[in-house]
């Protein structure tokens, strides 16, 4: 059961904390919005991903379990 990170682009307001807390998977474009690598997360990164999701002020970053996705 793997996890992935995904961003809700409507909720996202370019605060940028996700890129600071999960640079392995998230970089910021020239306008400050996250470019998310949606590859499955290795187990070591899952806690970091959850922390990044909790830090997002608008709940735009989502950590999803593989079996929940279509």
């Amino acid at each position: 059961m793997s996890h992935r990170v995904r961003v809700n682009p409507i909720a996202c307001e370019a605060h940028g904390m996700c890129a600071e807390l999960l640079p392995e998977r998230i970089t910021l474009d020239e306008w400050g919005y996250p470019i998310v690598d949606e590859q499955p997360l290795p187990p070591a990164l899952v806690d970091h991903a959850r922390r990044a999701a909790q830090a997002c002020p608008t709940f735009a970053l989502l950590v999803e379990r593989e079996d929940k996705r279509r």
Binding site: N8, P9, I10, A11, E13, D29, Y33
Partner: protein, 462 residues
Amino acid sequence: MSAAQSTAAQNAQDPLDADVPALPRLLADIPEEGPMSLREHLELRGELPRFERRRREEGPLIATIERAGLTGRGGAGFPTAAKMRAVAHARGRAIVVVNIAEGEPASMKDRTLAQALPHVVLDGAELAAEAVGADEVIVCVCESASASVGGVAAALEERAARSRSRPRAQLVTVPATYVAGQESALVNFLDGGPAFPTFAPPRPFEAGVRRRPTLVSNAETLAHLALIARHGSAWFRELGTPSEPGSALVTLSGPVTRPGVYEIECGASLRSLIEAAGGTTARIRGALIGGYAGTWIAGELVGGIALSREHLAPHGATLGAGVVLLLSEHACPVAETARAARWLAEESSRQCGPCVHGLDAIASTIEQIAVGETGQRRVLADLGSVASLVRRRGACGHPDGAVGFVLSAVEAFASDFTDHARHGRCDACLPPGELPLPEHVRVYRAGEREDLGVRRLARPRR
């Protein structure tokens, strides 16, 4: 473009296939004025067939639609049976939404159906509702299309007067914006929000209007469905190709004798469509297939195009919502692209940063190219990198479509773009422009690049 223009020569088939059953199907006997009455409709088409559906099962019509191979005619081309099946099996009482928002300015087919032949669309809605177990039908019509609104309203009244029990149907007018016709935007609007797309999941088929499974279907798709229910899947497949069966409505505009809405056999050649429209009235610089989220094809290739997915795919094009826009030799492709790119940027719902910023950057770049203000910058490389920053980073397909439109223009008219980058505007760069865009668009004027005042938003509005 009135219904009258589309009555002329509605057969667009290759002349070699003389013994194929004739068109028109949907547009048969389309009245010149006003909607066809219910009585006339029933005389022409026959009574609406009934399908027995056992509770908690999908209606038998869905299997027929699957055999017929009907796909959505709203642009996405999704298999209709699969969509209906998903709604039928989802939890909760379903709702059917008939999509006649038609925010694409170059498309008139859905509004034409609504204004002239509403009953065939409503038949389809009723049948679809029965098949997916829906107890409610909501017909969404673009608020600026008063004739279409009137046609649907009159048709609904006629149907209400007949005493058969049928799902409750209501008419709702929706804003005339480009993104309003997107599925989730319609659902959002019907739930009391703005006509802006929403973040998926959930998709409308599992949780749409009032969190109920919602079948959002294009008007033309439902019209085809109504005819398949009467005549069967084999009949539907008598036209078209095995992978794209049936007929389709196409809005043809530009320098032809009779622009308008035509019904073609899927896979018909563009040449035959133009012939059916009375031929061209000027040389063709290029063709825009699929509308403003579509693809440009250079003029010299236009003669060889056939209107089917497999023939258009090598050109990177799809028929989309059945839009074919021809550009004459008198127009400047660069100026037209600049106008359209700026309009596309303004039609963003401004909910997602990459769309707001990216589409603005692309429009600005095209405008700079058009007036030759790009200096030494490698603008085409710039466009490519912005494009890769925008694709798939919005909540809906709008930025992807806009990017595809612009990049295909740059490719199809490469020499024009290079000339403009070096030398600035050409003789054809004059307003008002040929591409049909709603009047509120600030028209690009050669020589002045108006500051269109796009706000640099750190926070795009919700």
